[in-house]
């Protein structure tokens, strides 16, 4: 019962009921119109026949008087399938014709009978109901009355046949429509049920759940598909959020503990002013590093969340590359690293200068940090070129590189290779670059330095759009 009520509540069923109602009203109007038309047509025919007959009778009367009229009526009355004929005395007594009795009062008024009247023919078996007829009554100058009419049996039968077949045809249509609508409504209801079951599971926390897609590619499927891709996005954002909170728990607690220990040690110690001062300065430095890590984490999750992080416009990638080189050239120089560029001019992409600049300086920073203390003379090249599928901004060095099987890992948050733990850094640099590239519809690729088969080549690939 509850299911039925639910079914009644579905849009398809409600629309069906509305259509059904309208359709039924139209059908009723149609039935009335057609039968009315049929009967007026039949009445017209009847009148025509009766009038023709009267004309003939009139001729007989004019030529031979009442006796000839009666003779003709008598003759006509005997013909099979004859019309109704009656000639009656002024007092109403029937003198000739084929009518045994009439509904009283029919012969009292001259002209067309206003509505069908009942009569009995001669030789009609006893007990059968009287027939209905329409007739015209004429008063002769001597007061006698002549009635010519036509039985309504045939037209009535025809009319009711038309009516019945119309009603039956419309009835079949209505029932058919009802059944079809019921089936469609049920189907829609079942699919919606499945969608709402899936979404309840999702609400219960199973974000991996997806809405069912039937594969027919109809509007339900399209809706489910777009909701599914929305769910996918939510799931990955949620995953990112979870990862961030795990990371915060793991990687921010460590420096916080260190900070706390340092404060405790300073308090517990018997040191004087300058030592206190030194401890304080160390603590400020430590908390600055914490803030830096925290900012980087927030930045990554906001960049990954995508929307409204930054305004995107056409930016000159070549200029950004030159700016970064210019910013880092003295740093590289001081670290004993030779920084060279191979920048194609006039390359523009849609993006955010600040973010791309930050990503690129992160890569240059890394390259300087990791190649500087190698035995061989360190070299870094910043290159920008137009590839077949888009622009590629790369930073390659001849440092130790990253083993092929770890290249995917280092992009994850806080992942640092064991060899690099001694270096300053948050372990978030490459994650940020990766997130920024994803925001720009591109990607970060890590590779060995192709020319020298050692070192690292980090490529920021801006896919050509459209």
């Amino acid at each position: 019962m509850g299911r039925f009520r639910l079914l009644l509540r579905t849009t398809a069923v409600r629309m069906s009921a509305l259509y059904l109602g309208l359709f039924a009203i139209c059908a009723v109007i149609l039935v009335f119109y057609v039968t009315d038309l049929t009967s007026s047509l039949l009445t017209y025919q009847t009148k025509q026949v009766v009038q023709d007959e009267l004309k003939v009778l009139g001729n007989f009367y004019r030529r031979g008087g009442v006796s000839r009229l009666i003779g003709h009526i008598d003759r006509r009355s005997r013909e099979p399938g004859a019309n109704l004929y009656t000639i009656a005395a002024p007092n109403g007594q029937i003198l000739a014709g084929n009518v045994e009795s009439l509904q009283p009062g029919v012969l009292e008024r001259e002209g067309w009978t206003e509505r069908p009247f009942s009569y009995r023919r001669f030789y009609q078996p006893e007990g059968t109901p009287g027939h209905m007829a329409l007739a015209e009554v004429i008063f002769l100058p001597n007061g006698m009355r002549v009635l010519v009419g036509r039985d309504l049996g045939e037209p009535t039968k025809f009319r009711s046949m038309v009516q019945r077949s119309l009603v039956m045809a419309l009835g079949i249509m209505v029932i058919g429509a009802l059944v079809i609508w019921f089936v469609i409504g049920r189907r829609a209801l079942q699919r919606i049920d499945r969608v709402s079951q899936a979404s309840q599971k999702i609400m219960a926390g199973d974000l991996g759940q997806r809405l069912p897609v039937s594969g027919s590619g109809d509007e339900f499927d399209r809706l489910s598909e777009s909701l599914n891709s929305m769910l996918g996005r939510i799931e990955s954002l949620n995953e990112g959020l979870r990862q961030v909170s795990d990371n915060i728990a793991h990687d921010l607690k460590t420096p916080l503990t260190r900070l706390r220990n340092r404060a405790e040690a300073a308090l517990a110690g018997k040191e004087d002013g300058p030592a206190y001062r030194a401890a304080m300065e160390e603590m400020i430095e430590e908390s600055d590093q914490l803030i830096r890590t925290f900012n980087a984490l927030l930045m990554i999750s906001r960049v990954e969340a995508g929307s409204a992080v930054a305004e995107m416009n056409e930016v000159d990638l070549s200029q950004i590359a030159h700016d970064a080189e210019e910013l880092y050239e003295p740093v590289a120089d001081e670290a004993g690293v030779s920084l060279s560029t191979r920048i194609e001019d006039g390359i523009e992409v849609s993006g955010n200068r600040e973010l791309i600049g930050q990503a690129l300086t992160n890569l240059i920073d890394n390259a300087i940090k990791y190649s500087a203390d190698c035995k061989k003379p360190a070299r870094i090249e910043v290159a920008l070129e137009r590839g077949t599928n888009g622009s590629v901004l790369s930073v390659s060095d001849n440092g130790p590189g990253i083993p092929e099987n770890r290249r995917h890992d280092v992009i994850k948050r806080f992942v640092r290779l064991d060899e690099s733990r001694s270096k300053p850094g948050t372990g978030l640099g490459l994650s940020l670059v990766d997130a920024i590239m994803a925001l720009h519809g591109g990607r970060l690729e890590l590779d060995c330095n192709g020319n020298e088969h050692s070192g690292l080549c980090a490529r920021m690939v801006f896919d050509r759009r459209g």
Partner: protein, 239 residues
């Protein structure tokens, strides 16, 4: 005792600022620290009081927290601007991303500092906003001691001797000279000379400064460009 200005004491007896901050502990610390740096400081703890004080008094700089009870920081700034009160405003915010900065500056703020900040950074920015020292905007030649910078000819001379600088070094020196006598921080330099608002991992600015320093000081006995520990740099002619 606040020790940020141990190597540098600003002489700004007549600078008066307004701090609108709802965190009372942070506000008390700011008022104390500003006062010790010689800056007269009024404090308002909510948006309405802050707006009232801002319209009734004449301040040199206002420091406004973005999230305040009763009236938020950005609407205070935009309403002040509507009333043609052009006092420089520094917006403090726990939000610090690129887009937040842009909305802050669009509302009419002159500078934007994300929390947590160091007081030395805030102090340096407030002093620069107050513009009680340094050059005027329409000066075409900046002079600090015997150092001269011609903004139109793009020439730098010290004691009449021509010094060749790279374009970026020129802009760096131009900014330092424009705010001569004031502490400028590394982030201020990165923002104003390089137009980057992020915190680079390595201290790239220090390297640029030391290059510039070697160019303008090598061969001259007087140092002009000094490092202020825990804060930034200051370009000064005397002592």
């Amino acid at each position: 005792m606040v020790c940020f200005s141990s190597e540098y004491s600003p002489n700004m007896p007549d600078m008066k600022i307004l701090v609108i901050e709802d965190d009372l502990e942070a506000a008390a610390y700011l008022v104390k620290a500003f006062n010790e740096s010689g800056i007269v400081t009024d404090h308002a703890s909510d948006g309405d009081l802050g707006f009232y004080l801002a319209t009734e008094n004449n301040y040199d700089v206002m420091v406004i927290d973005r999230m305040l009870p009763k009236r938020d920081g950005l609407s205070i700034v935009s309403e002040l601007r509507e009333k043609s009160i052009d006092t420089p405003v520094l917006i403090l915010s726990a939000l610090g991303q690129v887009d937040d900065r842009v909305t802050g500056l669009r509302a009419g703020g002159d500078d934007y500092l994300p929390k947590p900040y160091s007081f030395s950074e805030l102090l340096a920015r407030v002093e620069v906003l107050g513009r009680r020292k340094g050059m005027r905007d329409n000066d075409t030649v900046y002079k600090v001691g015997d150092l001269e910078l011609d903004r139109l000819a793009h020439e730098v001379r010290r004691a009449g001797q021509r010094i060749t600088l790279q374009p970026r070094e020129f802009r760096l020196l131009e900014y330092l000279m424009k705010h001569a006598g004031q502490v400028v921080t590394r982030t201020m330099l990165l923002e104003n000379v390089w137009d980057y608002h992020f915190d680079p991992q390595t201290n790239v600015i220090d390297v640029h400064i030391s290059r510039l320093r070697s160019k303008i000081e090598k061969g001259f006995d007087k140092a002009l460009l000094r490092t202020v520990r825990g804060a930034g740099y200051i370009l000064k002619a005397d002592g």
